[in-house]
Symmetry: C2
Subunit: 382 residues, 2 copies
Amino acid sequence: MKINKFVMPEVIFGNGAIHQVGESCSRLGAKRVLIVSDKGVLHAGWLDIVLDSCQKAGLRTSVFFDLTTNPKDYEVAAGSRVYVENECDAVIGVGGGSAIDTAKAIAVLVTNGGSIHDFEGVDKIMEPLPPLVMISTTAGSGSEVSQFSVIVDSERKKKMTIVSKSLVPDIAIIDPHTLTTKSPQLTASTGLDVLTHAIEAYVSIAATPLTDVQAKNAIYLTANYLRPSVASTMNEEAKAQMAMASLQAGLAFSNAILGAVHAMSHAIGGRFPLFHGEVNAALLPYVMEFNFLAVPRKYKEIAELCGIATEGLTQVEAGEKAIEFVKKLSHDIGAPQRLSDMGWNGDMIEEMSQIALEDACMITNPRDITLQDVKNLFRRAL
Amino acid sequence: MKINKFVMPEVIFGNGAIHQVGESCSRLGAKRVLIVSDKGVLHAGWLDIVLDSCQKAGLRTSVFFDLTTNPKDYEVAAGSRVYVENECDAVIGVGGGSAIDTAKAIAVLVTNGGSIHDFEGVDKIMEPLPPLVMISTTAGSGSEVSQFSVIVDSERKKKMTIVSKSLVPDIAIIDPHTLTTKSPQLTASTGLDVLTHAIEAYVSIAATPLTDVQAKNAIYLTANYLRPSVASTMNEEAKAQMAMASLQAGLAFSNAILGAVHAMSHAIGGRFPLFHGEVNAALLPYVMEFNFLAVPRKYKEIAELCGIATEGLTQVEAGEKAIEFVKKLSHDIGAPQRLSDMGWNGDMIEEMSQIALEDACMITNPRDITLQDVKNLFRRAL
């Protein structure tokens, strides 16, 4: 029997939860907070609410939003300078995975010093971080609850994965109402990212009973609520259920880690300007087909969670239906189906496959995988 | 939509997990720990393992085990003096609910000062507690993950419930192997306590999707593994599953609170020397019958989690079968069925009912309840 470990932040979940950010920071002893965000969040109006809540709680605020999709090492360094110059004592991240991963990486630098490259890998963070309050506005990345931060090494053009319990925020705030400003396209790709997190965590070789309950509920919710969430910006029930799915998938993968989809997605996402959720969505069905051999019983359970009647079906038949379900879901919500549609034509596929093979997420993939396998999977998804 | 809050400690779960206690304390910065335990744990040999692990981690240790079932205010005060005299900087609790509740209450006093009575109620703890590492050896109380501590006011002869996020330990260690030294009687009563936690949390008016996944899995596991766990001290799978059920039920009730069973059990447990798990077990079926009116749909789900085929049954029929299942489970594992068998003959029933009505756990009971209702329920269980 292996030892199961599970760690998560305090969670505040619900419509209007974003208004609790100021009080949450105060409770952690903060006086001067750095808010890390992006211009999309600013334009959607959520940053104003955060600033207002901080002001009501008597906090002094500085804002940093010079960051890009797939955030870079130099952006983290710039953010940490803003923190130091303004003598901040806590960090708020508000946005999707890019903003939150950047916020967490900035927090690493301000107490540990050095460069963010020094912390690539597992358990390299030695000094405790300042109080961290993260607000997810995308129902996708799960970074608001996870022990991960993924930052691009701009010189090597490679995504660095930083893994440490220290990166689990103190408080995660998830307000489904913030999802109403997302476009259908972003809702689709982040929703498929949620499904990818849940499925990869569920079949991971590091899965435990504690991660399974979260992963399974996330699969069930995504199977039932992603379609209506894409269909209408105003369907509050669908938004709330997808926010819960994202949270639970985040709790699952933070503790069970991921698999080949993320390893491959990190590789090409570090080199080419692609959207993480879209890349995952394109790779997921092919990796599911590849991994089926390793975990047929779990695929049957995935089929059941998707509402497929599996009585009388073999594991193989049920598994095929599960994969079919994921393909059709992705198609129905208009997600880009091919990597070539997103702007990657297979350039440097040998190098990308090698990088994917060495990614930390590949370790927990349930099926053994070779360089040739990875190349084949990339080719199928092109 | 209400705001859902969820908080839990870092969890280390598995056979042999107890050996990680020393390293866990070190990681939190501890140098001199107070270990709060009881003589049963000492005689079973688990305390030696804890001391050994602390020594290997270079920690200085002091031990306090002058505590009783339903721990008292003066025991907490005595423990806090031992902490101060030995200049401790962290607290380990190892044992069942009594040891862990005492350990948490000691931690409150050593940083907040005053008397433990000052902290009765919700959110009365202002100063952060020292690092807390809790090791559950009973698969029952859930205190190792909860934001509760229940201490008897020896003068008023009344259980005080202290509720605060500060009481959530930093790290909870659950080692199913420690359950192999429990008697069948203790396994039965603590197992029914787990079922009570899970059912009361599931039907609580404060239940959320985050607590429901934990509560439901705990019900499923208890329905399937409590019988074999009582039947054999050496059934490792059953022990591990009951340890997981206890953990998940603890996570559920820590965040969704409880109901009438616990309110009534606290009342008579504060006045008479009764075992908490046994009292809960005797009250559960009657409170389930009473509460059914409020949550018929949830009772049907409880029936399904217990493996009852509910297709074609009405909610009422399924609910009756769920209650029948609980009664039969309790009977089969030899749990005491009546409060009078445990040494309470209904003495002071009027006063006990009034105290139960005012208990914090009564607030989240799903059905409105009167003094007469509580008296009737006590009488039925006598």
